[in-house]
């Protein structure tokens, strides 16, 4: 059985398991949808009071918001195994068992759970994204191919964060909530235009964590909006590739972590 078939089976089993409790599942789905929608209500209220966010209209911000939430929801769906890696695998020692299996640890952990409740965030993000395009005057034809490209770049970048966070658990054993700064904090930062942040944060969010490369710059290209910071438009067409680069770096780091892994005993 190749890795893909194996993953499909694991994902199938995970979906069946989650649908076993339809009541809980429905509640979590609704909860997820409402939570994320409420956070957009906060941004909307700022617009309502001040008219714009630093000169950006609500259409552009809705596109940013939708893009980052859709990307993150995809990563959240796939990467649950990495999210709980510290507490459920390293601390308990059950990672030893994964190492005994003749398959890549990454595939096995991806198969830990295919988390369906993130569909709530996905739907809500897609809804806001659609509204954003509808409200924006100059949506370009590039959007047709740029949108899936940017979402893919964003999803793999967030997946990269989750993998990097899991690799950190080889050192810290217990997962640390501080890495939420990059996941949930990334979503929080990604929904605002990059121009409103201080320069050190802008650099960090472009070159260290390529959040703006998968969200802000592609969104500018899709909306035919010139960058106030002077980055040329073609950058937004190519920049989602940086998400893949980020993922590759994190996978390398993960390999190093696995090679040096010492079991905590079980």
């Amino acid at each position: 059985m190749n890795a893909f078939t194996l993953y499909r089976r694991m994902a199938g089993a995970s979906i069946k398991a989650q649908l076993r409790y339809p009541g809980t599942f429905a509640l979590q789905l609704v909860g997820n949808f409402v939570t994320t929608l409420l956070s957009f209500f906060g941004i909307w209220s700022l617009f309502h009071r001040f008219g714009s966010i630093a000169g950006w209209d609500i259409g552009a911000v809705a596109v940013l918001y939708g893009l980052v939430n859709v990307s993150f929801s995809v990563a959240e769906t796939l990467g649950r195994g990495f999210d709980v890696f510290g507490s459920e695998y390293v601390k308990t020692g059950s990672f030893d068992r994964l190492l005994l299996r003749p398959r890549s640890t990454l595939v096995l952990l991806l198969g830990h759970e295919l988390r369906l409740r993130s569909i709530g965030r996905f739907l809500q993000g897609a809804f806001v994204l659609g509204a954003g395009f509808w409200l924006s005057p100059h949506v370009s034809w590039n959007t047709v191919w740029l949108l899936p490209w940017a979402v893919m770049g964003g999803a793999v970048m967030f997946l990269g964060i989750l993998i990097g966070q899991a690799a950190l658990c080889f050192i810290t054993v217990e997962g640390l909530e501080v890495v939420n700064v990059l996941t949930y904090g990334g979503v929080e930062a990604g929904q605002y235009p990059l121009t409103m942040f201080a320069r050190w944060l802008r650099r960090f969010l472009t070159w260290a964590l390529p959040l703006s490369a998968v969200c802000y710059y592609p969104a500018l290209a899709m909306l035919n909006h010139p960058d106030p910071l002077g980055m040329p438009v073609w950058f937004g067409l190519l920049s989602p590739a940086m998400g893949f680069v980020f993922l590759a770096l994190m996978v390398l780091w993960w390999r190093r972590g696995v090679a040096g892994y010492v079991s905590s005993g079980s």
């Binding site: 001040f50 714009s52 909530e177």
Partner: protein, 274 residues
């Protein structure tokens, strides 16, 4: 009635909260990050629209955000984990068998958990965001001192009331956890409600005008929004007495109705396994 068992329950949860020093530091970093992002957003918004007559100044919005961030763990985000787990495993029967008043027993544990988490973080963050930020020249971004000595005293009283309101709401989550036999539902419902309605997401005064008074009158405003307004000396419709009155009303209502509801739940509860 002796008070000792409740004190023991409080001290136990308080110590658990202080146990994880690394978690406190990690939480500090996270809170500073989220605070910084919000602050930059508000700064950009305010500077770009200087003639909008906002109900609070930028400086007030920043102070508000810092205090909200420092008291993040004081919010009733879900049930007390120990009670949620006990409800799931059936170990909840031990709590039911104790010769103590169940409400006070759980309330003291919930309050200790909230305070044990929140107080060390709040002190650390207040030091970093207040005097330290001012020292390194970030005066415009720092946590402002209280409006006056009087305001500080009022805020302390109000914060204590707020902590009790929060613990009472946690009690409601505990009851829901005991009814549904799982803590998960309370987190799914409690976290978004608490984050939105307490003013964590966006300061309550900045919401659209039609929503502002309604937002002030709901119980979550009493946890941190009202104390922060008193701290900054912001005018509150109805004055200081109305502010404290809203808090007392909710504390009383949550306790009376909650006790009644808990007694009904407990008398009908069926515990499986254990």
């Amino acid at each position: 009635m002796t008070i000792r068992p409740y004190v023991t329950s409080f001290v136990l949860q308080w110590k658990i909260g202080l146990r994880y020093r690394l978690a406190v530091l990690a939480g500090l970093v996270a809170q500073m990050w989220f605070g910084a992002i919000s602050l930059m957003a508000y700064a950009a918004v305010y500077h770009h629209a200087p003639d909008v007559n906002a109900p609070m100044t930028l400086r007030q919005a920043m102070t508000y955000t810092w205090i909200q961030q420092s008291f993040f763990t004081l919010l009733p985000l879900g049930c007390l984990p120990a009670i949620g787990e006990a409800a799931k495993s059936g170990a909840i029967v031990y709590d039911l068998l104790r010769p103590v008043d169940l409400w006070n027993w759980w309330l003291s544990a919930s309050l200790a958990r909230l305070l044990g988490n929140a107080v060390p973080r709040a002190i650390l963050l207040a030091v970093v965001a207040g005097p330290l930020a001012a020292l390194v020249g970030l005066n415009g971004w720092s946590l402002a001192p209280p409006a006056s000595f009087e305001a500080a005293l009022l805020a302390v009283v109000s914060f204590v009331l707020g902590a009790f309101i929060s613990a009472s709401i946690v009690m409601w989550w505990n009851i829901i956890a005991a009814r549904t036999l799982s803590p998960l539902g309370t987190y799914a419902v409690g976290t978004p409600l608490a984050v939105l309605l307490s003013g964590m997401l966006l300061p309550l005064p900045l919401y659209p005008d039609w929503a502002r008074e309604l937002l002030l009158l709901q119980p979550f405003a009493g946890i941190s929004d009202i104390p922060i307004r008193l701290y900054m000396g912001m005018p509150i419709p109805g004055g200081i007495l109305a502010a404290l009155g809203i808090q007392c009303f909710w504390l009383l209502a949550l306790t009376v109705i909650g006790r009644f509801w808990m007694n009904r739940t407990v008398s009908r509860m069926e515990v499986q396994g254990a």
